[in-house]
Each structure stands twice: as structure tokens, then as C-alpha cells.
């Protein structure tokens, strides 16, 4: 009974897509609890993606993907164009916040067992979405052609190169030559503004499609109550718009007050520059620092790759229909251990890179 209610949307959305028409959209209904607070992260995620697309498109109007000139164009956009600092700041803060929100979204789905059948494919498309983000960041960091972006990219290339078999090929693919120059910048630019956004839109579309066909996860078993419904239009759409507007204004104000940093222009001859890792990659840097020499591949590929694989394959590892966290202690303990490990490594990385006097 409850499952039928949860899946009311799944029956309607494909029909809507097939028949088309605004009127059909007005008829779509979703469970009222789909706008509860712990589902808020998905809406915020979508709002942040929209903000990233919008701010990125605006920045692209002024950007020149040529080493040196790239820096000047970003500098011009941020400091000479009206609201340029706000737009770039929104782009900067939005992707950072997106990582946090994606993590919380995934954690929420993990805790309530939303990855279980019949929503396995929803989970997998969400994990694929998450795994796409590092590529966005790797490709986007080089674009301002500043010291931090240039040298962070060099570090990342060296980490990627340590991946057995495919490492050198991947670096060659990204860089297009022995040095990080105009070819690398052009390739990463195309990746960042064309290929990756297309992949992201596709994944978001698939995520929504699977969500519509497989249904939203309902309340945990034992808490089943008759669920009132609300119309998708305008209830859900209006709330999403509210989230979008609040996010845009909030991030805009933050960006206005604390503009995104733009460091010195990249100097490829200045090997003394040691980039500090971003917060989200501190754990990975620490892993690479722990496993040195021939074991570097453990930290750079095997452990993070294995973890990503484990998260993606979770619906096939935990196959029981049980969704209550208290009855899934194995998954909960494993999640807590992984989170504790990531936190510990990140703290170690923070101490190493931000608190040591040599930095």
C-alpha cells in the first residue's frame, strides 16, 4: 500500500514524458514528505548545480583559454566587470558547498537504506554524479592559470601518473604533451565547460528518471502511515525555487563580502611554490604521503578506488530488504569507520599542510 503511494510519481512522470504537455505536469503528485528536511539536500544540490552552470556561463563570456592571458581574463572578470567578483565567488563557493551537500545527500541515503532495491540504480547514478566532481575540480582549477591552480594540477598529474597501466596514458590525455601548457589548458577547458557538464546533465536526468520510475524511498519500515500527497507543480517547484533563490542570495552575499581568492599568475619556473591541498582532498593527499615510493599506488589509486567501488556496489553487497539502521549494524559500523578514517586523515593533512611552520 505504502510502496504504491511512494511510487505514484513513477507512474506519472514517464507518461508525462511520452505524452508531453504542461497540463500533465500539473497533475503529477508526490508524497508530501518528499519536501521534508532530510530530503532538502537533493533540492539544494540541484540549486547549486544551476548556480554553477549560470555563473560558469557568465565567466566563459570573458575567459580566454591561453596561458597568461587566462589569468588576465579572470582578473579582468573579477575586478573590472560589475559584479564579476560576486559571480566568480558564487562559482567558487557553490562547488565547495556542493561537495558538502552531496556528501550529506549520500550519507542520508546510506543511513535510511535508500540504496536498496528497487532503487539500486538511483544510488548508482548518484554515486556516478559524485565521482564526476573531482574531474570538474581538476579541470577547473587550472583555468585561472594562477600559481595555486597550476601547481595543484602538477601535483594531481603526478598522482594520476602513479596509477598502474593507465596513469601515464591519462596524464598524456589531459596534458597533451610533456609540459602543462596551452594544450593542457585547452583540453581541460573543453572538458570543464562542455564534456563534463553534458555528462552531468545526463547523470542528473538519469538520476531523476530512475527516481521517478523506481520511486522515492518511503519512511522506514515500522513508521508507515498514510501519506498525503502534494502536487509537483507548484508545491515542489516553488519550494525548489525558494531554495535556489535563498542559495543564490546567500552565496552572493558571501562572495561579495569574501571574494574568491585569485593568487599570483602561474610561473611554471617557480618550483618553490608548494600548493596547499583543498579541504576535500586532504585525506587523499595524506594517503599519498603515507604510502610512498613503490607503495604510492596504494594511496593514490587502490584505496580511494576501492572505496569508490565499495560505495557504488553497496546495494549489491547489502542485499537484505531491511532498511532500519538499527538492524543494519554492519553497514552502519563500516560507514562510521570509513568516515572516522577520512576525518582522521583530513585532520592529519590539515595539520601537515596548514599548521606546520614550514608552510
Amino acid at each position: 500500500m505504502a510502496e504504491t503511494e511512494f511510487n505514484s510519481m513513477e507512474k506519472r512522470l514517464p507518461n508525462f514524458a511520452a505524452r508531453g504537455g504542461f497540463a500533465k505536469l500539473l497533475q503529477v503528485e508526490v508524497p508530501a514528505d518528499s519536501i521534508c528536511w532530510h530530503r532538502f539536500f537533493g533540492a539544494l544540490q540541484l540549486a547549486l548545480v544551476f548556480l554553477l552552470f549560470l555563473s560558469g556561463a557568465l565567466m566563459a563570456f570573458a575567459y580566454t583559454p591561453v596561458p597568461g592571458t587566462a589569468y588576465d581574463s579572470v582578473d579582468y572578470f573579477q575586478f573590472s566587470l560589475s559584479l564579476g567578483n560576486v559571480v566568480r565567488g558564487v562559482h567558487h563557493y557553490a562547488w565547495n558547498l556542493l561537495l558538502v551537500v552531496m556528501g550529506l545527500h549520500l550519507l542520508r541515503a546510506l543511513i535510511v537504506g535508500a540504496y536498496k532495491a528497487p532503487r539500486r540504480i538511483v544510488w548508482i547514478s548518484g554515486v556516478a554524479f559524485l565521482l564526476l566532481m573531482p574531474l570538474f575540480i581538476i579541470s577547473g582549477d587550472l583555468l585561472p592559470w594562477d600559481q595555486k591552480g597550476y601547481w595543484s594540477t602538477q601535483v594531481r598529474f603526478s598522482i594520476i601518473a602513479s596509477i598502474p597501466v593507465a596513469g601515464d596514458f591519462l596524464v598524456q590525455l589531459f596534458r597533451g604533451g610533456p609540459l602543462t601548457g596551452i594544450v593542457a589548458l585547452t583540453r581541460l577547458y573543453v572538458l570543464h565547460i562542455l564534456l563534463l557538464p553534458c555528462a552531468l546533465v545526463l547523470l542528473i536526468g538519469l538520476h531523476f528518471y530512475f527516481m521517478a520510475t523506481r520511486g522515492l524511498s518511503g519512511p522506514l519500515p515500522g513508521k508507515l502511515i498514510p501519506r498525503p500527497k502534494v502536487p509537483f507543480m507548484p508545491a515542489i517547484v516553488n519550494r525548489w525555487l525558494a531554495v535556489f533563490i535563498v542559495s543564490a542570495i546567500g552565496l552572493g552575499l558571501v562572495a561579495w563580502q569574501w571574494p574568491a581568492a585569485l593568487g599570483d599568475p602561474a610561473d611554471p619556473t617557480d618550483s618553490a611554490f608548494i600548493p596547499r591541498p583543498e579541504w576535500w582532498v586532504l585525506f587523499l593527499n595524506q594517503l599519498v604521503a603515507i604510502f610512498k615510493g613503490p607503495f604510492m599506488v596504494l594511496g593514490s589509486a587502490i584505496i580511494p578506488g576501492g572505496l569508490a567501488l565499495l560505495i557504488g556496489a553497496l546495494p549489491f553487497i547489502d542485499r537484505s530488504p531491511e532498511r532500519r539502521p538499527s538492524k543494519r549494524m554492519g553497514v552502519m559500523v563500516a560507514t562510521a569507520v570509513v568516515l572516522a578514517g577520512l576525518t582522521a586523515l583530513s585532520v592529519m593533512g590539515y595539520v601537515e599542510h596548514f599548521m606546520r611552520p614550514e608552510h
Binding site: 519536501i35 588576465d72 563557493y93 565547495n96 558547498l97 525558494a242 619556473t269 579541504w279
Partner: protein, 329 residues
């Protein structure tokens, strides 16, 4: 507003604050000194304004070049900005106050030049980005390694037309007595000329000598007084008609500062030499509106470098590394 919505909005705000905490950090790598210029509603009244005591100083190390090779010195640097101006305060030790600048001296029979140069401090900012200036400072404009496109013995300049620097040049003998620092710029070097040029307008100094270069041509006009440190300003000079008024031991300024006008005179200067140290205050509008000046935007950071000249010529200097100037409101 429904309760879930309130919680949602609250979470959004909390995440924004969390994001701010984590992501607004200033990501830098290798050590590069940063001079923080702090905001003040009112401009400093002078070298001894109490605000200078409160402002945190940056001790900038300088390395000697050419005849000063191997020597080191340092300059205590502070800066404040108002809604329209920026003010730099410098203090450095110097055993001797040098303002001679080859002044004329008379021995009772003939005129000759005294030995001695002047003390100077200069700052170079980017108007348009100078390739690698942010990391290498003066090494890419003034002390260029052989083989670089702008490497010309004894001449300074940038390598391309697109690169342009704003040069502030305080000279103890040739600009300070007139109350300003030379405002110039650094452009592309050519085969025949250096890239150092003066801003539009009037300024600099005028050489005080006769056509045959044997003696001074000007002296202090009646009713006028010599400027600071006994320097004769070009505006206070009158042509010498009777050389018999001079007696042995008399000294006359050779390089007479000219009152600055236009963009050349954008940088006001106040200084004092006392207790074996120079204290210099340079003030300028944040944005002069002149295309030969860097326009400071308090939201932005700027790379700059400094050089110190201790009674020496251009090549014999003490140079700082590249520095960052940031604004804090």
C-alpha cells in the same frame, strides 16, 4: 513557512557558514611576504601620526646587488588606505644621509663636483601583468639574466608591449626636497633605449651647469630659501650673473628638483633623516585616473617589489623579493 522549510533554510544558512569557514582560506604555497594595508577613515597627518604605532609592520629583507653583493639590509614597512588614498611608511637604517648628488663645490678658483650620490627607495607595481614579476620581482625587470629578451646592460624595461609597471621613485636629493617621489613607469625595452619613462606632466630635476659644463649656472634667487637638506629647487633658482659672490668652500646643488605637475607628481613624499635612519612617507590616490599608474582596487591583491639605493647608482642596490600588497577593511 512550514517547519520543514524553516529547517531547510536554516540548514542552507548553516552550510553557507560552514562553507565560508572552510573555503575562504587564502591558499598560498611558498612563503611570499604580504604587506597588509589597513583601512583608516582619515589619512595620516605625517610621519609621526599615532596611527603608525598601531599598525603592524612588515620587516622586508633586502639583498645587495653588484657592489653591495653579499650584504643585507631591511626596511620596516607599513601601509594604510582611506577611501581615496594609499599611504606607505618606510623606515630603514642608513649610517649616512646622502643628498650630495654630485653637487658643485668651489675651491676659490675653480668649480668641481663633490663625490657622492643620494639615498633612494623605489617601488614597482604592475599596471599590466609583467610575466613572472609576481614570483621573481625585480629579477625580471631590473636584474635580468643574460639571454632574456629584456636583458640590456645597464637598462631596465619589460620584454613586451603588453607588460607595464608603475615605478615610484623617492630620491633624497632630486625629488624629496620638492615634496614628491618621481612617478614613472616601466615599459618595453628597446635596442637603444631603456623602458624606464616618466609619467605625463612635469617633474624630475634640471642640471645646474653652464653650456661648457665648467660651473653652475644657477643660484638661489633673492628672497628665497634653500629647500630641505640645503637643496636648491629649480623654481627658486636664478641665473648667476656675478660669480664673485661665491667664496671657497661654497656648495651649490647640481641636480635641482623641478616642481612636479600632472601624473608625474601623483606621489607626495614626506621624509626625515634622524638617528641614523630614514623615515619616508609616500602617499597617492588609490586611482589617479592616469593610464601610466596602477589603479588600486581594495578587493584585489597586488604584487610589488622594492629597491633601496645607498648613496649609489642604479645597478648598485639592495632588492627585496616580490611582495604581495593586500587591503584589509
Amino acid at each position: 513557512m512550514q517547519k520543514p522549510m524553516k529547517i531547510g533554510v536554516l540548514t542552507c544558512v548553516l552550510l553557507s557558514i560552514l562553507g565560508l569557514f572552510f573555503f575562504s582560506n587564502n591558499v598560498t604555497g611558498a612563503a611570499k611576504q604580504t604587506l597588509t594595508t589597513v583601512y583608516s577613515k582619515a589619512a595620516p597627518t605625517g610621519l609621526d601620526d599615532p596611527m603608525w604605532v598601531k599598525i603592524k609592520a612588515l620587516e622586508v629583507p633586502f639583498d645587495g646587488k653588484e657592489k653591495f653583493a653579499g650584504k643585507k639590509t631591511s626596511v620596516t614597512t607599513k601601509a594604510v588606505f582611506t577611501d581615496s588614498e594609499i599611504h606607505f611608511w618606510f623606515n630603514w637604517k642608513d649610517a649616512n644621509m646622502s643628498v650630495t648628488k654630485e653637487a658643485w663645490t668651489y675651491d676659490g678658483k675653480t668649480w668641481s663636483h663633490l663625490k657622492g650620490d643620494e639615498d633612494r627607495i623605489s617601488l614597482l607595481f604592475e599596471i599590466n601583468r609583467i610575466n613572472n614579476f609576481a614570483t621573481k620581482g625585480c629579477a625580471v625587470t631590473c636584474h635580468v639574466p643574460p639571454g632574456a629578451p629584456n636583458a640590456k646592460e645597464g637598462k631596465f624595461g619589460t620584454a613586451t608591449d603588453a607588460e607595464k609597471g608603475d615605478l615610484w621613485h623617492w630620491k633624497a636629493a632630486r625629488s624629496d626636497p620638492a615634496g614628491y617621489a618621481d612617478d614613472g613607469y616601466l615599459a618595453k625595452i628597446s635596442d637603444t633605449k631603456g623602458g624606464r619613462k616618466g609619467d605625463a606632466g612635469k617633474g624630475g630635476d634640471r642640471q645646474n651647469m653652464t653650456a661648457d659644463k665648467s660651473k653652475p649656472m644657477y643660484m638661489l634667487a633673492p628672497g628665497k630659501k634653500l629647500a630641505k637638506n640645503g637643496i636648491l629647487l629649480a623654481g627658486d633658482a636664478v641665473e648667476i650673473t656675478d660669480y664673485s659672490v661665491f667664496k671657497a668652500g661654497d656648495v651649490v646643488t647640481f641636480r635641482m628638483p623641478v616642481a612636479a605637475e600632472g601624473s608625474f607628481g601623483d606621489i607626495k613624499a614626506v621624509s626625515r633623516y634622524a638617528d641614523g635612519a630614514w623615515t619616508v612617507l609616500l602617499s597617492r590616490k588609490l586611482d589617479t585616473g592616469h593610464d601610466d599608474d596602477v589603479a588600486f582596487n581594495p578587493q584585489k591583491k597586488y604584487s610589488f617589489a622594492m629597491a633601496l639605493f645607498d648613496d649609489s647608482k642604479d645597478q648598485d642596490s639592495y632588492d627585496s623579493e616580490a611582495l604581495t600588497l593586500e587591503f584589509k577593511k
